[in-house]
Each structure stands twice: as C-alpha cells, then as structure tokens.
Symmetry: C2
Subunit: 198 residues, 2 copies
C-alpha cells in the first residue's frame, strides 16, 4: 500500500499508529503540508479533498480521510468493538475529533510550530478557545473512564491521541487536565505503539 | 426516542430525513442554536460537545454527532452498503462533509440567515472560499456518478444533501454546479423524502 503522508501531521500519524499496531506494511510518500502547490496533480485523481492522509490500497483503489482509513482497517480487529452502540460511540468521538478538536488544536499547532505564526492574534485566540473547550469535554469524559469508549483501547483513542499529545506545540497547557494526561500515558503504553516522529 | 433538535440545523435534518425514510418514531425537543445559554444543563450529561443533534435511545442511552447517529441506524438497511470498501467510502464522505463542507457552508448560512450577519466580511469570505472548494470537489465527483457512493442512495447522500440544498442561504450560487443540481433533484425524489422545514 502507498500512503501519501506527512511526518508532522497528526491525521497521518493516526494511520501510521494503527498500521504499526496491526503489523501492516506500506510505503510512505511525504507530501508538503506548508507548500500546497502541485496537490491537484498529485492527489486529484485519488482524493477530491486533496488532503493527506490519502491511501492507495494494494489493488489500486484509493481511500481518504483519516477516520475512514482507521475504520476500514480496524474492522474485525480488537481496535473496533463489535457491539452496535459501542461502534456508534467510537464514531461519535471520531466525529468530535474532526469537528471540535482537530480544527482548533491541530490548526493552532500548525500555525505556531510549522507555518511561521498565525494569520492574526485574534485567529489564534479563537482556535485556542475552541481547543480548550474540546479538552474540557475530553477531561470530563475521561475522568471516569480508562479509555474513550468501552473501557478498552480503540481507534477512538488513536484519533484523539494524535493531536492531544502534541497540543503543547499549539500553545496548549495540559497541566489542568489530569485525566487526559493519565490517559495519554495509558495510550502510549499500548503494545506496538510508535511515536509521531518514528 | 427523544431527539434534541433544531428545526433549521442541517445536522439535525440529516437525522430527521433518515428517520423518516426508515419509518422510525421519535419526539423532537427544539434547542435554540443562536442563544446557547443553558446548554450545559440541558445536554451536559448526554453529550460532552453540547451540540445538537443529541439523541436519547429508547433505553435511555445517549448518542451524539449526526454522522454517528446516521451510521447506527443505517446499519443493516439499504442506506449503508455491506461491502467494506463502499462502507469506507461512505465514511470518507461523511468525514469530508464534517471537515471541509459543513464548517464553511453551514457556518456561512448560519451567519447570513440566522445570526444577523458574519463577525466580519473577511470571515465570511474565508468560509465562502472554503465552501466553494468543497462544492468544486463534489461537482468533480458527481460529474460521473448518480450518487456519492456505490451508485445508490446512502447516508453519504443524506449527509451532503443537508447543507448543500440550502447553500443559497449562505450566499452560495449553485448555478455553476450542474452535476450537484441534478444530484440534489435525485435525492429529493427518493421514497420517504421530507423537507428540512417539515
């Protein structure tokens, strides 16, 4: 399989982490996430959204969006529950991550650590306010749980771990979030775990 | 079942449309999407993200995020394919809708039609630029297809229809998008279709 990848992207790291834990082989092709020129030529036929991760399966068929890739490969493995309600809860948290968490925490991190700064201080303030609201929601949820769904490690943990564990690179302080910090430690101890920089 | 709902929200409409087509009974409780005070008291125990739609199942268990609710109820119905790759494609487009489409088109519509105007002209320009990029991606995809995935009507069509068919309320002009307009017509002709205002 060929993964159009970015070494610094949490969305790509989600896929790399699951693939490592499943023992799947694949080739990585690095795509620039700052200079987006040439994306249409590179990804246009594979992913109308022109984003990474974009995966080409062994048979040549493309699949895009980190959560769709996670779901496809986690099916029938311990990383996705069988129970219909637990599966729906996994999807609820994957959706939360993409809508309420990533656009704030990942974008703030991109501006602060990779793009030379935010477009304006006010823009960064808005993303940090939204990011802390997402962290508040996670903290309340994890205060009484070991993992995000079903008291076991699933792709919901992988999806939320990706940008939460590097939130400091977006200027976020996790000190006031003890439940999140303990959960980050539990996730990092899972068999087959790899780091974002691996 | 009890649906915490908003009559004008496309995210809530997705759920109402699928429920109508599946013939499912439920009670609607309207939640104000402009005045968000009291959300924590109303939804805090049910949905950490404090958003609508939030659903309470017959047995009292909560489920949130429109795409998770669609997936849960479409499973084992004609609205979600059985093939693993087609299911992943459905999830790819659900993710695209929540990440690249809704935050632009739905937010522009909210500002223009429900919230008394955007925070700034520049903010609206940004959302419209992003919204047109999402429409461009849809147009290219639908130019050679009858429906979003698997050449049949699925929850991927429901999710993308919700805000695309009212994009004009956010200032978007669909005239340059003939494939989208024909697809909107096909979706509206599906058995059991209901309008957002129903």
């Amino acid at each position: 399989m060929l993964l159009y990848d970015s070494a610094v992207s949490g969305n790509c790291y989600k896929v790399r982490l699951l693939f490592a834990q499943l023992g799947l082989d694949y080739t990585r092709q690095e795509v620039d996430v700052v200079d987006r020129s040439g994306r249409d030529e590179l990804l246009g036929e594979l992913n109308p959204a022109l984003r990474v991760p974009t995966l080409v399966l062994d048979d040549g068929r493309p699949l895009a969006e980190s959560n769709a890739i996670l779901w496809y490969f986690a099916e029938d493995t311990p990383y996705l529950p069988e129970d219909a309600y637990e599966r729906a809860q996994v999807l609820q948290w994957l959706s939360f991550e993409q809508y309420s968490h990533e656009p704030n925490i990942a974008v703030a991190r991109f501006w602060v650590s990779f793009a030379g700064g935010p477009p304006s201080p006010k823009a960064l303030e808005g993303r940090q306010r939204g990011g802390y609201a997402a962290l508040d929601a996670m903290e309340g949820h994890l205060a009484t749980r070991s993992f995000v769904v079903a008291e076991r490690y699933t792709i919901a943990d992988i999806a939320l771990y990706a940008y939460t564990h590097v939130a400091d690179e977006g200027g976020f302080d996790l000190e006031p979030y003890p439940a999140i910090r303990e959960w980050l430690g539990r996730v990092a101890l899972q068999p087959g775990h790899v780091a974002i920089e691996d």
